[in-house]
Every structure is written in structure tokens, then in C-alpha cells.
Symmetry: C2
Subunit: 389 residues, 2 copies
């Protein structure tokens, strides 16, 4: 291999696209809360090409703070530009190979990366929605994705794939549109948010609301960065494992050999958290954070069937791959197991795997090697199954 | 047993006491940070009587948000008054039986329940210390307790006992004053605070500092309750286990059968947290919370011996009982094991036990039956050992 300047012209270049719907009351998106969302924009990206048979389309679903930019770059040459959030997974010759598959990823509604969310203009008032934005659910996000699917003239997804909150969306796809997918891959996720996670979300939202700049959601350019950063730092702790934090930081001090005996960041872990917090607020919106975490709180696949998860999944047709990670204490394997049992109760063709990893919940973003192998094999087999059906 | 009105005159009535030292520079408390704390008040309570041999004195060390009021009541009749924080453990005929033992418990320095802390008057300026209060450590708390010990003319503790941060103090007693105790009981604790806990503390402090009422610590009566409440709610999650939250709350809704589709408390777990937060701010001070969590961050028994825990404990003479709980993920058994190994490396007489419990870290306050039996047996045997020595 030649060492030297990185060859930028080999970059995968993508362009964000927009799809708008719901200009009439009839076409508006009916939400779980009973309200209708009008003038909905969906920011999305596509990779690869839809084949003639239309059987190679894959929908990737992003997590809480992700976006449509799953892989590649926007610019040919920009040393500072970082690739999409799952760039190791999606691309030419990568596990989700865009030479084989047509990959779609869209920003969720409620988000702040192009799709309609609380910082969008409310068509009724001409002002920003802010806290007048309706409460959305994971199912609502999926309903919006279904509109995009129709727009793209895709009849059936080969696979819907998501980690964390993306996995919740994959499960809602299974429940709401069982005919529209060949398989679903639910990674590091849960069939219902646990009270512990609801509690963490509550505290994160409190941190945002306590920020004097939040102004009941009506902030101007002077955004409530401190509160949002605190919420992010809290969430970030839950994405790592005790083990990985010990390996990565231990009790190492940032600057000196001795304690500074003050309240500034002293430990490496404090600096890391602060860094994560301040990087996050550059790209994320406080009100979106409130709405999306609330959507997660409300996520319970079995809520429409009186808590009966098996019943909720009775209509599932596709094959399912469920993956969890040993050190993920946010969505531990026990929660995946509950999902697997409910699927088996319905004689669904389900595969499951618990991957040994020290990285905690974040493992779904980091364990690309083993997870990628698993995903690429599963997709290949599913495509064969669908072609032989 | 006769049913009927509670017989209040059987209440154990205690009176808080004060001990003041450090009026001269010589007598002041030299802290780990290098500063001296003058005019130190220690609020404490005593239960039972010191026997003639002076071999029945027990020091109980409280956790982060505890105080000197370990057991009993202040008033003969007050339906609303709650007993001390470990009332099931300490009292007549209870596991730490005050008919046998002379029990002492003092509020830590840095606290807000009578002992000198950030909301005390700075003798140099005549104003409240607030953020001019020096950073204190767990060892500093113990040094202040040693002054109280001298004041009470106790030569040797039969036992020093603490859970959580109280356990850290028990370990510092072992390290700093090995001659002054017969045994130490370290419950649900750790020999050094983990990076995960440092991270949680950082986020909790951020929540307090983000509160506009905090005013860099110089708040008046209009205290930063919201930030302090958020910090408490966060900490509270870490005191419970995922399991106990599922048992206690699940995803049960507070008021209605259906989601309210807003940001108010909807889930029982949210109501519970809010309740915990608002009860807490009635009795605790925000600046104290900052200082005490910082003391915990800085707690590493091995910091003076270059990270070598065995070396740190080389001088230990007393017997040690180490107790952990299966579902405690804040100070898990793995951390207790590290402590036990270091003590064994020094041929210390150490007993350890992991108690099966679903209650998480809070188990040290809740598992009174099994923990009480263990503590009472250990103390009885230790008293025999000391008398036969």
C-alpha cells in the first residue's frame, strides 16, 4: 500500500434530497396523538441503484441523534469533513454493499437535520412550531418513511435495518407494514423502553428546560446549549459501559499529576464528556431532543395489544435478525430475548445473536467487523430467499 | 399485639449536639488541598452509653445525602416526624443495639445538616463561604471525625460502619488511623470512585450550575431547587436497579390509561422521580451537593501509593467486613472484590459477602434483615476478640 496523501477522489459523494407531502388535510400525516402534520419535509439520501426487479432496496433507520447521512461525504475534498455515521457499514464493497443494494436513509420527523421538526415553520401560524409541534411516536416516524417509500416507488424493502432507536423503527415497520419488507434487523434495541430509560430521558429533558436560554422552547439564535450539552453528557454515559470507561479513561487526570482541587474538569472522563457535549450542540437542536426522547418513552410495541408482545407481532411475515451486545446496559440482551420469544411465539423466522463487546450500547456503531459480517450474510441469504420464493 | 394508636412514648428520643474546634490556626483542620479550615462545627448524635472499659463505641458514617440523625426521633409526639435514616439498624434491641453499644454519628464537613460546610460563615470574611469553601476529601471528613473522637475521649472504636460514601469513610479510617479501630464495615462501597460515577457526578453538578438561581453559588433564599432536584433525580436512578424499577413502576401510567401526549409526567416512574427531587431540595443544599460529590470523585484509597491499593492498606490492623449487593451497579461487587484482594494481600482478617438483592445500591438502606444479622454478629464477635486479646 502506498503511503501518502489520502486519495480524496475515491470518496463516495452523496447529495441530500427532499421529499415533501401533506399539503392538503387529506394528504397530511395522521399522528398517534390524533393531530395531523401538514407540509411534511423528509430529508433523505440514497446510495446505489434500485435494480429492475426492485428487490434490492434497504432502508436504514437512524438512532436518536443520527440523520439521513449514513455514509459517504458531501464534498470531494475537505480534510475536515467527516463521513456519514455508519460509513464503515455502508458503501462500495462494505457490508451493506451499494454495488448490490439500493440504500435509503431518511431523517426522522421531529428531527433537526432537514426533516420537519419542532424548529420548522408551522404552516398554520407562519412561526416556528417549537413546543406547538405535536408529540410524535416511533410509529409516526415509520408512517412518514412509508410515504417516502411510496414516493420512491419501492414496493418492498429487502431489509429495514436499525440500531437503538433505529431498531425500534425496524420493529414498528414489522408491526405496521409486515407485507412491505422481506426482513428486519433490530440491533441493540428493545421492544419497549424500560422505566430506567424513561427516567434518564426525564432527567435529560429537565436539564434542557432548566437552561434559562430555553425560554419554554421559544429560544432564538441564543440556544440553550448548556442544558442540551448536559442532557447529551448524561445520555453518553449510558451509551458506554463501566468497563469501556475504565479502559478508556480510568481515573486519569487531564492536565496534572495531582488533583486541582476545584470544580473544573480534572479527570480525562470529564474532559471527554465536555467535548462530547459541546460537539453535540453544534449539530443538534434542544427541542428536537425533547420530542425524540419523548417518542422513545412512548415506544412500547405491545401498547396496542394490552401489553401482549406476542399479539402485537402476530402479523409479522418477514424474517428477523435480533442482535444485542454483552455490555449494553441501556438495552440489555434480556430485552432482546423478550422480543425473540414473542417472535418465536408467532413462528417467525428469527435469528438472534449476543455479541461479546466491551463498548456498551455504542457497540452497534463500533463493532463493524463482526456486525458487518452478520448483516451482509443475512441480507445475502434474504435476497436469495426472496428470489426463490 | 394491641392494635391502636402508636405508643409514642416508646420512641427513642435523641438530641443533636455540637462540637467546635479550630479557633486557632494551630487547631484548625489541615485539609488535603493544603488549606486550613477554621472554626469547624461538627453536628453529631450519640445513642447508648460508653461502658467503663471504653470498648463498645461504634462510629456510623453517613452517605452523600445523609446526616448525623441515624436513628430515633427528636420529638416525643409528632405524627409526621420520620425517624433517622438507619432506624431499622440502630436502636434498642436492633442489630446495632444501643443497650450494648455506644453509637456516634456525625454530619460530615461540607454537609448542610449542622456541620461546617459551604453555607457556613467564613470566619475570614464574615460572609457565607459558598464557592470559597475549600475542596474537601473523604479523608478530610475522617480527620474531622477523629477530632470528635478525641473530644468524646474514645480511644478506640469497636467498629466504624458505613454504606456507600460512608463506606469510603470507613476505608479511610482503616488507612489513616489503623490503631484506632477494632474493625471496619464497608458496605456497598468502593476503594476508588469509577470513571462512570465521576461522569454521573459531573452531569449532576452541571445541572445545578445551569440553574439560573445558582448564581455561581451565591444564591440567597431563592435557592437553585430545580437544578438540585435534577441532580438528585439523576443520582436516584443510579441508586435503583433496572430490575427494581421494572418491579416498582414498569411502564405504568400515572393518571390515565392512555398517553397524555405532552411533556408532563405521564409515567409512574416520572412522578416518583419528581417527588424524590422535590422532597430532597427541602432538606439539602446545592453547594453542599457540589462539594460532597467532588470529594467522592477524589476518593481513591490508592492515590497516595501510586495506584497500588495493597500498599495503601499495608498498615491496616483491624478486621474488615466487606458487603456488596448483586444488583448494585453503582458500586458493583467487582469493586468490593478488588478491595478484599488488597486486604488479603496484607493478611488482614477480612470477611466478605455479596447479598442477593433486587434493590440496587439502595439495598444497604433496605436489606435491614440480612444485613442487620450480619452486622450484629460481626460486632459481637469483634467485641469478644478485642476482650480476649
Amino acid at each position: 500500500m502506498l503511503m501518502g496523501k489520502k486519495k480524496h477522489n475515491s470518496r463516495l459523494i452523496v447529495e441530500p434530497r427532499d421529499f415533501t407531502f401533506g399539503e392538503t388535510a387529506e394528504d397530511a400525516l395522521l399522528l398517534d396523538c390524533g393531530k395531523k402534520l401538514k407540509n411534511v419535509n423528509i430529508r433523505y439520501e440514497v446510495y446505489g441503484e434500485l435494480n429492475a426487479a426492485g428487490d434490492n432496496a434497504i432502508l436504514i433507520l437512524h438512532a436518536l441523534t443520527g440523520d439521513a447521512h449514513v455514509a459517504g461525504y458531501y464534498r470531494e475534498e475537505d480534510e475536515k469533513e467527516k463521513p456519514g455515521w455508519w460509513d464503515g457499514m455502508v458503501g462500495k464493497g462494505k457490508p451493506i454493499d451499494i454495488d448490490k443494494y439500493f440504500v435509503v436513509c431518511s431523517n426522522i420527523i421531529g428531527g433537526c437535520s432537514g426533516s420537519t421538526g419542532p424548529r420548522s415553520q408551522n404552516p398554520e401560524t407562519g412561526k416556528l412550531y417549537n413546543m406547538d409541534f405535536p408529540i410524535i411516536t416511533i410509529a409516526d416516524m415509520v408512517r412518514a418513511q412509508d410515504r417516502l417509500m411510496q414516493h420512491l416507488k419501492i414496493e418492498k424493502w429487502l431489509g429495514v435495518i436499525g440500531g437503538s432507536m433505529g431498531g425500534m423503527q425496524a420493529l414498528e415497520w414489522l408491526r405496521l407494514y409486515p407485507e412491505k419488507l422481506q426482513c428486519a434487523l433490530a440491533i441493540a434495541t428493545t421492544p419497549r423502553l424500560s422505566p430506567q430509560s424513561i427516567a434518564f430521558n426525564w432527567v435529560g429533558r429537565e436539564a434542557i428546560k432548566t437552561d434559562p436560554k430555553w425560554l419554554d422552547g421559544n429560544y432564538s439564535d441564543n440556544v440553550p446549549n448548556r442544558g442540551l450539552s448536559t442532557a447529551r453528557m448524561l445520555a453518553h454515559i449510558t451509551y458506554l459501559s463501566d468497563e469501556s470507561m475504565k479502559r478508556k479513561f480510568g481515573r486519569v487526570l487531564q492536565k496534572s499529576k495531582n488533583y486541582s482541587f476545584d470544580f473544573n474538569r480534572d479527570f480525562a472522563v470529564e474532559s471527554y464528556l465536555e467535548h462530547q457535549g459541546s460537539r453535540f450542540v453544534e449539530r443538534f437542536d434542544a427541542n428536537s431532543y425533547l420530542y425524540i426522547t419523548r417518542a422513545m418513552d412512548y415506544f412500547d410495541l405491545s401498547s396496542a395489544t394490552g401489553g401482549n408482545l406476542s399479539k402485537a407481532l402476530a402479523g409479522v411475515k418477514g424474517h428477523v435478525l435480533v442482535v444485542s451486545f454483552t455490555s449494553d446496559w441501556l438495552f440489555p440482551t434480556s430485552q432482546s430475548r423478550e422480543l425473540v420469544r414473542a417472535l418465536l411465539n408467532n413462528n417467525v423466522n428469527v435469528s438472534s445473536c449476543e455479541i461479546e463487546s466491551p463498548y456498551g450500547h455504542d457497540a452497534f456503531l463500533l463493532e463493524i467487523d463482526i456486525l458487518g459480517k452478520m448483516i451482509s450474510d443475512f441480507l445475502r441469504i434474504q435476497q436469495e430467499v426472496s428470489r426463490n420464493a
